[in-house]
């Protein structure tokens, strides 16, 4: 066994990602400390870790976001390093700096790199300076419609007018033709003023029907940066990724390599160290791609890259943070086969994906060949209302895309979660959708109509009818037996072979 990179690591997160990091630590011979809120005493990451420390009440703001308390816990338990997972404090440069200032190792990029990529406009300017393609547009407000129109013609229509202070689609207008520009400009300004008390608007080229493609990078502290190819994360609902796959089914290989080269360039431009992801918009129509943002941490969807490259990204983070130079070169990284991830949410697909926390009364996760479940729950666990609804990730590998899809469908069919509702039934219909099968789907794939159609496609009313009638019959005819009793005898035992029935 090689020397562990650390003696002990504190994992400043919860749920499946905390369990993921704890697993990587244990495999490397590193001891672990979990932190938990009062609502999480029974959480799986507490059960999985070597030690566990309570850091405060249920709300994240009073526990998982309390950097000082977490650093104190690390110092008290003798941890040498802190791994932030994703979300919570993972992209908080000030927290990263505090960890370092406390004499601990931060398992993530340098705070300066987090900072550089943290501001969207700052990152955009830095990327332009580094020669990385960004969506053509103005990073700041434009004074007049006339001035803006000149730029719009330069970018090429369609263009988007966006509120500088904006978000949530307010003060946003798509313009397809120069003739419509002036009126769209006025109405965008007016809506921006009403929504944000600020009528500043700016311009961006509209990327029609784009794919969301991202490149995984790994960089060590000795100046080596490599990429681990792409992930296609275009299946999104409410701007949240739902299904990811690698490789992208339709990306031309020269574009793939060009994006990867740009991603390495972007990471090097900010002195990146560790695991990171460069997100791009990719236009299938034009074949062009544009830098969107960089995630300076491990991604939710990192497992699909692991499955096709054979490289354990969480372990790599630990070894890099301990100062180890990369132990492989770019040419050693080869994509083999195809991998798909489905994010399992505690949400009810039949109720517009409303959150569905509650107790998991029964759980059987799928298994067998090339099926990986990164789970944050167990049978009997109560999914709390306080945190993100993602309870697990199903990751399947296949020697090709068809094999990966059919294996994922098989695994979804095995997956049993009782007691709460989840997005599981929805995925099997999604993976069978012909528009998913041909791989050309864009970020607009999951329209409300498609969501409804896919959910309806997973119904089995005939079977549900028979089950409900039998359940009622058992209830009516055996009133004295408590609900939880298990009748163990089967008709077969009494009747013998069915051939004779």
């Amino acid at each position: 066994m090689p020397h562990p990179p650390f003696h002990k690591v504190l994992v400043a997160n919860r749920g499946e990602i905390a369990v993921r990091v704890i697993r990587a630590c244990h495999e490397l011979g590193v001891r672990t400390v979990a932190v938990f809120s009062e609502a999480d005493r029974e959480a799986l990451h507490v059960r999985s870790a070597g030690e566990a420390v309570c850091i405060g009440p249920a709300p994240s703001s009073e526990s998982y976001l309390c950097g000082e308390v977490i650093i104190a816990a690390a110092l008290r338990t003798g941890a040498q390093a802190i791994h932030p997972g994703y979300g919570f404090l993972s992209e908080n440069a000030a927290f990263a700096q505090s960890v370092i200032d406390a004499g601990l190792v931060w398992i993530g990029p340098p705070p300066s790199a987090i900072e550089s990529m943290g501001s969207k406009t700052g990152a955009r300017q830095r990327m332009i300076a580094a020669g990385v393609p960004v969506v053509p547009g103005t990073s700041h407000a434009i004074a007049t419609a006339e001035e803006a129109l000149v730029l719009a013609v330069e970018f090429g229509f369609p263009v988007m007018i966006k509120a500088a202070a904006g978000g949530g689609g307010k003060g946003m207008r798509r313009v397809d033709h120069p003739d419509d520009f002036a009126s769209a400009w006025r109405s965008a300004q007016s809506e921006a003023r009403k929504s944000f008390k600020d009528d500043a608007v700016y311009l961006e080229k509209f990327v029609d029907d784009p794919k969301h493609i991202e490149i995984q990078v790994l960089a060590d502290a000795h100046g080596h940066t490599v990429h681990l190819f792409e992930r296609d994360c275009s299946v999104q609902r409410r701007n949240q990724k739902v299904v990811e796959e690698t490789p992208c089914a339709v990306l031309p290989n020269d574009t793939r390599l060009a994006m990867a080269a740009v991603a390495v360039q972007a990471a090097e431009a900010v002195g990146y160290v560790g695991a990171g992801t460069i997100e791009f918009l990719y236009s299938q129509a034009s074949g062009e791609f544009y830098f969107l943002e960089m995630n300076t941490r491990l991604q939710v969807e990192h497992p699909i890259t692991e499955m096709v490259t054979g490289i354990d990204l969480a372990r790599a983070q630990l070894r890099i943070a301990a100062g180890e130079p990369l132990w492989f070169a770019q040419k050693d990284i080869v994509q083999r086969g195809h991998a798909i991830e489905c994010r399992v949410y505690a949400e009810d697909p039949s109720q517009q994906f409303a959150p569905a926390p509650g107790r998991i009364s029964g759980l059987r996760e799928p298994g067998g060949p090339w099926v990986r479940v990164d789970s944050g729950v167990y049978a009997g666990y109560e999914v709390p209302i306080h945190y993100d609804p993602m309870i697990a990730k199903l990751v399947c590998w296949g020697s090709d895309r068809e094999e990966a899809i059919s294996r994922t469908i098989r695994a979804l069919r095995e997956y049993r979660v009782r007691g709460i509702r989840t997005s599981i039934p929805f995925f099997a219909a999604l993976l069978r959708d012909p528009d998913f099968a041909d791989g050309r789907y864009s970020t607009g794939f999951l329209s409300p109509e498609r969501l409804t159609r896919l959910t309806d496609a997973s119904r089995n009313d005939e079977i549900a009818t028979i089950a409900a009638a039998l359940a009622q019959f058992e209830r009516d005819t055996r009133p004295s037996r408590p609900e939880s009793a298990t009748p163990r005898e089967s008709a077969w035992k009494r009747s013998g072979r069915p051939g004779g029935a």
């Binding site: 959150p355 945190y387 049993r416 979660v417 409900a468 009638a469 009622q472 298990t486 069915p498």
Partner: protein
């Protein structure tokens, strides 16, 4: 036993009989099935329906059975016609809005006495970092508000009654 089973708005007539060999004869709208039922765990109904292997979860609630098949949960109402009057007297929720999801009430948008239209948002419940608007099931006047802002509510809790 004869049942009236309502699922997704469709009514089906179902007859269930236990045979001497222990299997069930289930007739759904004149289509007959022979079902061998086993309960490998208390919450699982493992059925061999004419040899075809199916599994469902079924949980009894006052509103009916919550049945999940292949992961999708559906509310199924099963009524014994002979007991129908009793069943009906239990009443439906009518103008009372309840929550199917536990969470925290972050905003109450109406006050007692307010007139409301059907579908109008009455309050907002937050669960798992998402806000969800709870809408009026019928038009009318707000008669009672059972919850306050900041309060945590369990699944099934009554929120607002409309007259």
């Amino acid at each position: 036993m004869k049942y009236e089973v309502t699922i997704e708005g469709t009514l089906r007539h179902v007859t269930v009989e236990r045979r001497r060999d222990g299997a069930y004869r289930v007739v759904v709208d004149d289509v007959e099935h022979i079902v061998d039922l086993s309960r490998p765990t208390p919450d699982a109904f493992q059925m061999l329906i004419d040899n075809a292997s199916w599994e469902a979860g079924a949980v009894f609630t006052p509103a009916g059975w919550l049945v999940d098949v292949m992961g999708l949960t559906t509310e199924v109402e099963v009524v014994d016609p002979r007991r129908k009057p009793i069943q009906l007297s239990a009443g439906t929720s009518g103008g009372t809005l309840s929550t199917q999801m536990p969470g925290r009430v972050v905003r109450v948008l109406v006050a007692a006495g307010d007139p409301v239209t059907k579908g109008q948002p009455l309050l907002v419940i937050e669960a798992m970092k998402m806000e969800n608007e709870m809408k009026a099931p019928i038009a009318g006047t707000v008669a009672d508000i059972f919850v306050a802002e900041g309060q945590t509510v369990e699944s099934g809790a009554k929120l607002v009654r409309i007259e």
